[in-house]
Symmetry: C2
Subunit: 444 residues, 2 copies
């Protein structure tokens, strides 16, 4: 084990000191790497410090493309959607689907509920019946003792909605859960919920310790942990599009509107019955969703974990979107849990996230849920449309080729030659480089 | 509907034209927003063009913190891990867990399999028995006709491993699936797989059309779609840590090593039995995983979708990690599907992703699987350790407060006062701003 590859006290080094240690021990051209990392810093030092402080041991910024998808008509309001995504075709596909539906009534959304959840798991050795008997009294105390932390949220219309006692002793000896539900208004609420839950844990211990109804071992509660749940099936939004089949228009290769509608429905049906397909189908939905989640300073890991658990709630992982054709009406919709915020956290700290929210006209959390669900549905529509008509490779390969040509500094003539050469088949960096090398040799 | 909020031909505008339209129609201070967006551009125009081309309608870069977690000992090799994550505490927690295990044998990993998957769904009206009878001959043709696209991958040791015929007619009339498995070596392989699958679709149609064994309707195959599956349960890696309980050391508040081990195991057990807890437990794993996935130019939506489907494979969404205590040995491990690449896609196009791979000493895809799994396990260890000892809010609130203070340009004196004031309870942007305002008034 090379001693240079590990270090003590790294986090205490200055940023320059950290970069120095990294480049000297892990890179062949240290000076060049320092320059490159520094070239991604923001020119304003104070601004860069804010970015650095979002995380730890920060050396530079990792640039992700910040783009927009215009022409989203959502509940009759036009939006231009900020998207942060490194995958090609996603923004183009969202824009295209948005424009398609803009002239067909747009996206219609509904927020079904906005309940957030948290859990305190604890062990207690007494009789089950007794804790159930004590619970109403305990709950009252729990609610009261949290008030210090909930006061400000209650003023804004939120707070703790309920606390349930869940008996888990059939699965694990002595184990119970307090399941608390919250309304967190325009904030995602993680800090609020976790602070409340830790207080619930303290109050719980205190209650049993001081309860006159409890003797000996019954006085002792052991809290295992107190933490929010990212699974929020009741923080749910629906987005849908619909139009008469006749209005779907024409599709490539002479496909009729009716043929398209039937194929589209079949493709969605496959994602409903086959988990292998459902995974990719939903992945496409999250291409759009995560792009807006990141752009608005929300946490995409939380959104992903929640949505995929929701997709598996009936025992087999399945599609989050559905499609019907009834009486000549094509309908396509999505129901998805989205626990997002428009105040607090990075939403007000990240400079571009702030601009994203401004671009969306400073939405409430509920409005943001609607917008994100509509983008997810648009993304899914575009992906399936592409799959059941031309296939996705044609577009993908074209974009991938453009990226590689730009990286290899191809001139316009070379670009044309490459596009012709790679019009069918597999584009890879090495194949394009080889092609350009041969071309340059033969021309040189 | 305001006509200014929608637009025709947006994608054809220049970048400057796009920005102009956006700021004029959606922002109150257009000039200021233009300046701000431009301030995030890379100073080298060519470099910025490469970044812009990753996506569409790109206006600027969205900066994500690029940090490192040193001291990861993985299969006896020391690593410094590049992480791109906007959530505070994640890098600090990974670093801390890495250091903890560095002196206890480090992370041990094993790649269990590297099989990627793709599907061609199609409709066929003939007799089930007949297609099963024809399949061996069909498969031979399918394999042969893909060779044009697989040749280069076969040279590198990969290619199509197998093609199965799946009968879905019990779920959906006339529906069958070709399920193809692939080895894609060091590439993630999405483009390769999709190109092969589209060829399989064409060959399939061709086979039935020209088959002398098929008459009338039997000659017609309708391909619904051809696309890879992001659910790759056999592209799987295991990471584990273990040590005698005695060596776990001491924990906050006088908690003994044995008490810690038991609590830790209980916390993991809860994530095994309760889907609400499992979601957040796994979300914590993906905090670490996604940070490395993004840093190395891989696709985090694919990784998330796959892992969460895997977590639900037994019918109830559950923990991806597990813990045992046997004969005084504490063991903690994770099994997770990770379809990642170290060549192709953004890995060779994104400038910082290239540096991330260099920092990891140019790993193969298999090595990257090992590294990412170890980071996921470290992240999970740190989160559970925190939850069962001090709770997570203490650390989180401290970091959140620092971020807000830096944003509000607090001086050192004000920082000290704020840290004292917010030592317990809820930190929010508005509360800190209010506190500082009062402080500044009373001092002014």
């Amino acid at each position: 084990m090379s001693p240079k590859k590990t270090i003590s006290g790294f986090s205490k080094l200055s940023k320059a000191g950290k970069i120095k240690w990294i480049v000297q021990n892990f890179f062949k051209e240290p000076d060049h790497v320092v320059q490159e990392l520094e070239s991604y810093w923001h020119s304003n030092e104070e601004q860069q410090k804010i970015l650095d402080n979002f995380s730890e041991n920060t050396l530079s910024n990792f640039p992700m493309p910040f783009g927009v998808a215009p022409n989203f008509l959502i509940d009759s309001n036009p939006y231009c959607i900020p998207m942060v995504i490194e995958e090609s075709s996603v923004v183009a596909a969202a824009s295209s689907a948005a424009k398609f539906w803009m002239s067909r009534g747009g996206f219609v959304t509904e927020v079904l509920a906005t309940i957030k959840l948290g859990q305190v798991h604890f062990e207690w050795t007494g009789d089950k019946a007794k804790i159930k008997y004590l619970f109403p009294d305990l709950k009252k105390k729990l609610m009261e003792e949290c008030f210090l932390f909930t006061r400000s949220m209650v003023k804004r219309g939120g707070g703790i909605l309920d606390i349930e006692l869940i008996d888990l002793t059939d699965k694990e000896d002595k184990l119970y859960q307090l399941k608390a539900s919250f309304e967190t208004c325009d904030s995602m609420g993680a800090n609020f919920i976790n602070t409340c839950l830790e207080q619930l844990g303290r109050s719980l211990v205190d209650y049993f310790k001081n309860s006159e109804e409890c003797k000996n071992d019954e006085k002792e509660v052991r809290v295992v942990m107190s933490i929010l749940s990212n699974y929020t099936p009741d923080c749910l939004v629906r987005a849908s599009v619909e139009c008469p089949i006749m209005q779907l228009g024409k599709f490539p290769n002479g496909m009729t509107a009716e043929d398209f509608a039937l194929r589209f429905r079949k493709a969605v049906r496959i994602a409903e019955i086959d988990p292998y397909r459902a995974t990719t189908h939903n992945k496409g939905i999250y291409n759009g969703i995560d792009a807006v989640v990141i752009a608005t300073g929300n946490d995409f890991r939380a959104i992903e974990a929640c949505g995929h658990t929701y997709a598996s709630r009936n025992g087999q992982y399945a599609s989050l979107s559905h499609c019907t054709i009834d009486d000549g009406i094509f309908k396509f919709w999505l129901e998805i849990p989205l626990a997002v915020g428009t105040v607090g956290g990075l939403t007000s700290l990240h400079p571009i996230a702030k601009r994203s929210l401004e671009l969306l006209e400073s939405p409430s959390a509920k409005q943001l849920m609607r917008i994100i669900a509509a983008v997810g549905l648009a993304q899914n529509f575009a992906a399936i449309r592409s799959l059941v008509t031309t296939g996705i490779q044609k577009g993908h390969m074209k974009m991938h080729l453009q990226n590689i040509l730009s990286q290899l500094k191809a001139d316009p003539k070379e670009e044309i030659a490459a596009i012709q050469h790679f019009s069918e088949g597999l584009v890879s960096f090495s194949a394009v480089r080889e092609f350009l090398e041969k071309l340059r040799l033969s021309n040189g």
